[in-house]
Subunit: 186 residues, 2 copies
DNA sequence: AGTATCATGTAAGAGGTTACATGATTTT
DNA sequence: AAAATCATGTAACCTCTTACATGATACT
């Protein structure tokens, strides 16, 4: 019943798509892998799992197979899987590109497993398109306002542009790795 | 008295360093410039200004020079300027690089004006150093875990690495523009 | 016996989102 | 007269951070 799951919830859903995990497992993933952009705070993770469970997206079961303290292993429910797939296949908007590339990349990272390689290719094409529109806009802004900006301000803007350009180059690289799946048509 | 000002507060402080602005001016900046990563929501901006004022970092004065509705023009106080400079000169940590490059770039964008070009050069060197440590770590992770990851997951990680590499190249570019200020020493 | 690791959770407070509310002036 | 623009603000709700609390098992 709650609105849109926040990024942390999506990340957890994606991890659970691959295998059942406990809250503690998730914390370890967030401390020990490049998913370290997420907080490993128990005050974030356990309430997030609770919400996901209340929304019927995951279900946790207490296990004590090993002699350790009880741990609750969480699995995706069919509703959770559906909601996750819905997120993965949402269109790539300009707003996503401007405000939240991090979310876009998180989505993409789960895409092959979640909804298949054809969807990954569609995503890459859409992202490429948005970047090809947005980058020139940033360059026009730099051209008209750059001269009057302080040097570090101008450089910071250039850094942003370069980072979008790197992303655009990456989409091309990524598309070639999916090469044989690409269709010719518009 | 409150803890650390959130990013939005810092951004506002930085804008006010350059000129006095109203809440509405700030909203327009966030909708019409590359600072669009910030929300232009009045529910974010007006409370933020209120907090900054309560903390003594800015002071707002009602003006009605033009015949329009009253507008409150905000200016930095000396305490606000001091706090802002303190933020600008904070060390660049590994955690900043992993979790919040956006904050780093926001800091840098105000650096010339806030604390001078020498500080900008120090910042760039420190950032360069952290990147030179972190990028190889990510590459090691990719080398050991990449083969077992789904294609889109691996590509997403590669995208992250490329984006850090682009940032590293940018630090070199930026340092050359400050060229004459660089010292030879260690 | 003490410490590290595994493991789950809560409480208070801060700050953001969305939506609503208001009101003056300028343009059509 | 209506709509657009300028302009400021509040209220409910949600989620995250920080800090605390608890407890079992394994290692030294």
């Amino acid at each position: 019943m709650s609105g849109q799951t926040p990024l942390l919830g999506r990340a957890i859903l994606g991890l659970l798509l691959q295998q059942p995990l406990s809250g503690y497992d998730i914390r370890r993933i967030f401390t020990q892998t490049p998913m370290a952009t997420f907080s490993d705070s128990p005050g974030a993770i356990y309430p997030a799992l609770k919400r996901l469970e209340a929304d019927g997206l995951v279900r946790g079961r207490t296990e004590r197979s090993t002699g350790l303290r009880q741990r609750r292993l969480f699995r995706l429910t069919p509703a959770g899987r559906a909601k996750f797939e819905h997120w993965l296949t949402a269109p790539v908007t300009r707003d996503d590109v401007v405000r939240d590339t991090e979310e876009l990349m998180l989505r993409f990272s789960f895409m092959d497993i979640g909804v298949g390689e054809a969807a990954s290719v569609r995503f890459l094409r859409a992202l490429q398109h948005e970047l090809q529109v947005y980058i020139p806009e940033l360059n026009r802004y730099l051209g008209s306002h750059g001269p009057e900006m302080p040097r570090s301000g101008r450089l910071a803007l250039e850094s942003g542009i370069r980072s979008y350009e790197a992303l655009l180059q990456w989409t091309r690289h990524a598309l070639t790795t999916y090469g044989k799946h690409q269709k010719g048509g518009k």
